[in-house]
Every structure is written in C-alpha cells, then in structure tokens.
Amino acid sequence: MEIVVTQEEGRVPVTVFQLKGDLANEEPLRSQATEAYEAGTRNLILDLSDVPYITSSGLRAIHYLFDLLRSDSPEESDQAVRKGIASGQYKSPHLKLVKPSKNAAKALSISGYDMFLEVHKNKKEALASF
C-alpha cells in the first residue's frame, strides 16, 4: 500500500493521508501516523477513495490512529468518549475518513468504526468539518 502525505490548511492545519491499495496491514500506516504525530499533526484525513478493501489488520491501524490523535486531548478522556458514543453524540474531531469504497465501508460498518468516525464524500467536505 502506498501513502501520499499532503498538508492542508483549513480552520486548522490538517494532514491528509491518501492511501492507495488494500489497507490490509497495520504497517506502514502506523509508522506514518506516528511520524506525522511526532512532527505535530493533530488532525488527519484518511482518504480511502483508492482503497478496495480494509481487513481486520487495516481496522487495527485505523484504531491506532484514532487513539493516537486523541491522546493529548483532555476533553476526549475515555469516560467522555464512552459517554459520547453511547449517546450518539461523539465523532472524532481529529480523524475523518473520505470516500471509502463499498467493501471498505462494509468493514467499517461491521466493526462499528463508523459510530465514532465521520465519513465524508470528498476531501473538501472533510476539510471543512474540522
């Protein structure tokens, strides 16, 4: 899988990972995310428009990104997030997904990840949501 990294400037700085190929391994997405986080990234768009399939390993990588990006947000404590998800009010303010394929969307839905991650039709819409 290839990851193309770009920077966008909306209301806040946003890093965009455009993935190309099946998201079927935790690497290289974990490493790329860690590197970006250490370089200051706190808001990230995962562009899935060129990802035919997401496997359980790929889901683990997305879960890692989600945890990483909320790790220094005191307002997103485990308790607050838990309460927000239970009430249907919480979606990650730091990680947004763009245009998953039908098969990728099925994996996200089956795993319940679409309960706490916003899914947008395109990058522009995702950028505006931050």
């Binding site: 359980s56 994996a107 795993s111």
Partner: protein
C-alpha cells in the same frame, strides 16, 4: 465452470494480495454478484490470515482454496496442514465495551461470520483443517 481451485504450497502473509485477487477473480468468474464478491474476499482474507497467524505461526505453509458454485450458492473450502484450529469456536467479540476496552483485534472472525451465511470447520482424517464458507443466493 462450476469450480475453481488453487493450491499454495508455501504461502505466507505476503501472498495475501494475490490470494484476494484470486478469490475476487474466481468468484466473479463463477457468476457471483458484485456485492457478494467483495464480502467473500473479506471473509476469505480473514480466514487465511488466521491460518497463517494461528496455524503456521507466521511461517510458510500450504493452503488450498476451492470455490464452487452450487445452484445459487457459492461455497468456499479452505484446507491447510497446520495444527488444528477451529475459528468457529472463537467467541464473538463484545462490540459494545467502553471504547478503551474495545479489542482492536478479534475482528477477523467477526468479519467472517458477518459476511457468510454458513461457517463450518472439521479436522479431516488426513490431519488437515477444512473450513467451509457458504454464501446463499450468491449467484
């Protein structure tokens, strides 16, 4: 054609992209509906990954994948020579724990169960594992 089989004598996790392509192409060739093809690819992917991780402990091993059209159903048989592992006995994950306790792993079998209508396992007399997946009205 009603059946397509491929044998991988020394497959590894690195071969998963090729395996996904084989399942996608074969299911399409057998006449499966596009939605079904995608779900089958995901289910088989998780099953074969389990064979590599739990069966072959990340080493190489033999895997045979057979897809067959049976009336309007599509059946996939996976066989391997790894030690016995029955994924159908893995308890379903709790999908509603607090987020921080939600297992990031354990989703593979859940995905398999979600995408196929029947999932059965047996240990064959020759010592092979056989996992059978059936998707009804797939054609």
């Amino acid at each position: 054609m009603n059946q397509i089989t491929r044998h991988y004598p020394a497959a590894r996790q690195e071969d998963m992209a090729e395996i996904r392509s084989f399942v996608e192409d074969s299911a399409t060739e057998l006449g499966a509906k596009p939605d079904t093809v995608g779900e089958l690819v995901l289910a088989v992917n998780e099953a074969v990954i389990n064979i590599f991780i739990h069966g072959y402990q990340d080493g190489p091993g033999d895997v045979t994948i057979e897809l067959a059209r049976k009336n309007s159903n599509l059946e996939v048989r996976l066989s391997d020579s790894a030690p016995a592992f029955d994924p159908t006995t893995v308890p379903p994950p709790n999908m509603n724990p607090p987020l921080e306790q939600r297992p990031a792993g354990g989703l593979g079998v859940h995905m398999m169960r979600s995408f196929v209508d029947e999932l059965s396992y047996r240990r064959l007399p020759d010592g092979q594992n056989e996992l059978i997946m059936v998707i009804r009205d797939a054609i």
